[in-house]
Amino acid sequence: MNRFFVFVRKEFYHILRDRRTLLILFGIPLAQVLLFGFALTNEIKDARIAILDQDKSVYSKEIGNRLLSSGYFKLAGYLQSPKQLEAIFRKGQIKLALVFPPGFSDDWQHGKKTQIQILADASEQNTAIALNGYASAIIQDFAANATGGSRPMSIEIASRMVFNPNLKGAFVFVPGVMAMVLLLVSAMMTSITLAREKETGTMEVLFVSPLNQIQIILGKVIPYLVLSFINGCVILLLGVFVLGMPMAGNLILLLAETLLFIFLSLSIGIFISSITNSQVVAMFMSLMILLMPTIFLSGFIFPIESMPVFLQYFSNIIPAKYFINIVKGIMIKGIGLSYLIRETLILLGMAALFILLSLRNLKTRVS
Amino acid sequence: MSTVIANNLTKKFGPFTATDSITFQVERGEIFGFLGANGAGKTTAIRMLCGLLRPSSGEAQVAGYDVYRQADKIKERIGYMSQKFSLYEDLSIRENIKFYGGIYGLSRPVIKEKTQHIIEELQLENVVDKLVGSLPLGWKQRLAFSVALVHDPEVVFLDEPTGGVDPLTRRQFWEMIYAAAARGTTIFITTHYMDEAEYCNRVSIMVDGKIQALDTPTGLKKSFGVDSMDGVFQILARGTSTKG
């Protein structure tokens, strides 16, 4: 046992000495939290809009003013002719163009059908839809008020935004960042470190030593477990105190589930290292097969239900998906273990699977 | 003129002095051994002479050029073989020779000629197109040495080139070194094997960054009153704090 602890301590020294990597390891979550929290927002405001007013009446000017004072739009300029539209869109200078046909206000006042055109740059779809929606609503509002009267038989809609009444976009990703960083440290670093030992041949030297195989691997992996856990806690703290993420549920449960996920990630890292001897291959496998799918298919960034069906099935084998649900559930909804049994069991099962696979690979390798 | 000259050559890494004011001269065609325990400063010294490391102070000249200001000219005239051999494991023997020949600016006909020469000398006809990674250690070693000589350098620096091979292979390697020296190439070799010291023309022994002795092997044995280089080293190492 004593030998084991000496070994673990040596591994800690290795890691702590590599200042640069440590810096980056703690820098990544910090940068991500800051970015996601403060820079990346789907909020729409000050979208650049051009107005082609071929009517130049009181009404067209009024509509234009309402749009510009709503906060959603910012005037890029007034166009003089339809020919300018294509060029200005192609240069990417505006998101939306508003076109009033000549004779607009005359026709409208006389009860004839008139048309206002809203042209949107739909290369960015959701923004285009949202902007379109806002512009249409403002115009409709103006039209309704101009004609006067309240509507009979109106259905009022009472919307309640559950779990996140202020629609704060900033903290939905904290679980995703956690999952990503934990995977990075636990799975990737572990697999690279173990692969490195194999590459340089020091693994065999260790195998010949009095420590048995399991102890060696455990010894290598424990520092990463500690590192991951600390990192995970840092992210949680950042999320709660800097971004205002709630902590509605049980902290102990949250930490326990975090440990479970770390454990799972470690076993995946060990598994990857058991199937390759090359550091570079281990790196690429961790990156391409583990990290990238996790970032993109776990529901962290893109909603799973919007993906094609085959990818939705695929997302079921991504551990991070379940972990993210667990964290969201505990922190934002405040639910307890009874609601999260399914996810927890799945994570446990996956961990067991990878451990078994790794053991099998290691046994055949040495014999 | 001596091919390698060092004058109070010193290298400090922060508070730690790896090489402390070493001074020596090596003549053309000499086999000069740089002995010492691990950590004594041998590798630091050789890397300064090769232009891989910038000295903290002192002077050095290799092949008539100054290591501070004319490092590039030095590099055209020296060969180097490190502990790691530094051949490309995923290239074949032929390809390695061709690569290094080209890097040193040899023309293609000359490279062809050299390749032929090396293959014959090392008897590699059967494996010339096999990847270097598949060769046994001893073959790699001798090949690395030959490649270091491909451009006919004036000086060849060998940093612990015989680590990890059996005595027979070492013997064969030293025969190649003799042959090169006989042709006029200066050999500068570091080693921690004391028996290899016997093979050198002159030997310097480094302890804790300083040169504690410099003479022919015979001369050293006489001065210290022992009959092996190992004995010489024991005496020198005893009175100092060694880093093992």
Binding site: Q115, S123, N132, I139, M153, E156, I157 | S86, G102
Partner: protein, 371 residues
């Protein structure tokens, strides 16, 4: 010059001989491209919905039927009570719950107004916002229908103002069209920057780098000897990615292919330069990997791939000025989707070219044959 040729020859030999790595380098980014492009969709659809109908009237049935026919919503549950509706939100079984209160229909006739309640899982704020507006639009739609049916004359005046919408460049409103050019370039910098960094650091680790430092090879020769092979490989990857984009995802190519390639070329020089910089400051593969990863994460997040750059706070926008991904994604999207030409994109090209030259020059100056 000749010496550079030797360097390049050796590089290619090594790359092609290492079949595992070659396969990984070429195939994996392509697989990522395919996978990501299928996944990359911010469209809000297939929302799971629960409806609690406490009225069971003709109008409530009509409302439910409207939702059943829209692809944005999937009706999965009909909870018996309000409490059970909340439970289903807690359990993550549904994304929103609509409650139609008792007397919904009769209230419309008697009081001229009625209410419907929506409970939306708002953990994802923007998704919730869009879900809410979709649902509201559908309810308003029913409202208009009811109005017309009951008061046919009074509604005529309200319809004289028509708003027509045109969605340019992406008339089918497919998110993919927007994302694929971005993903393509993101993968280029990932693979280009990372692979070149790993390659050089690997040589450092096994000692062949040192061997090169002892030779008379000049710094610029060394840099070019690495740059050229990796840029070539990058161009191959780019071509493959482009083929995937066209044939599998039907991304249009409105603009000049030559211009697109010119951008890709300069971008690859930049990426490899970044790889060189990283390798200069890393002594182990692990360090290189993390340095590359860190930088890439920053670049990718800021680049406008996932969210619009205009909405970012000022400090983020300043940071973005030195983000190569931002420029190349703009250029790529504009060329492929809008057919923008050289004159439209001059500033982007200039920015990229400046960065490419700067980064490579820095890498070269920083590289030390003598430490």
């Amino acid at each position: 010059m000749n010496r550079i040729a030797f360097l390049i020859e050796k590089e290619f030999k090594q790359i092609f001989r290492n079949t595992i790595l070659l396969r990984i380098m070429i195939m994996m980014p392509i697989m990522q491209l395919i996978l990501l492009s299928y996944a990359a969709n911010f469209e809000v659809k297939n929302l799971k919905m629960a409806i609690i109908d406490q009225d069971r009237s003709t109008y409530s049935q009509r409302l439910i039927s409207k939702f059943a026919h829209i692809h944005n919503f999937q009706l999965v549950a009909y909870p018996a009570s309000y409490k059970m509706g909340e439970e289903s939100l807690l359990k993550n079984q549904v994304d929103l719950v609509m409650v139609i209160p008792p007397h919904f229909e009769s209230n419309l006739y008697r009081d001229q107004k009625s209410a419907v309640q929506l409970m939306v899982n708002a953990i994802d704020g923007s998704k919730a916002g869009i879900a809410n507006s979709y649902a509201s639009a559908i309810i308003n739609d029913l409202n208009s229908e009811i109005l017309v049916e009951n008061y046919p004359l009074a509604t005529q005046n309200n319809n004289t103002l028509e708003i027509t919408n045109q969605y340019w460049y992406n008339p089918r409103l497919e998110y993919r069209t927007f994302m694929v050019p971005g993903i393509l370039f993101e993968l280029l910098i990932l693979v280009g920057g990372l692979i070149s960094a790993l390659n050089i650091v690997r040589e450092k680790e096994i000692g062949t780098q040192e061997q090169l430092n002892v030779t008379p090879i000049k710094k610029y020769q060394f840099v070019l000897g690495k740059l050229i092979p990796f840029v070539v490989i990058g161009m191959v990857q780019f071509t493959m990615g482009l083929l995937v984009a066209h044939f599998i995802f039907r991304i249009p190519q409105e603009g000049s292919l030559a211009l697109l390639y010119a951008f890709a070329f300069i971008f690859l020089i930049l990426s490899t330069g970044i790889g060189l910089l990283i390798s200069n400051v890393s002594s182990t593969l692990q360090q290189a990997m993390f340095a590359a990863f860190f930088m890439l994460v920053l670049f990718i997040l800021l680049s406008g791939l996932f969210s619009s750059t205009e909405n970012m706070p000022k400090w983020a926008q300043y940071l973005n000025v030195i983000n190569p991904l931002k420029y190349i994604i703009e250029a790529g999207r504009n060329i492929m989707l809008k057919g923008s030409n050289w004159y439209d994109l001059q500033s982007q090209f200039l920015a990229l070219a400046l960065m490419a030259v700067g980064i490579n020059a820095l890498a070269m100056l920083q590289y030390r044959k003598t430490s």
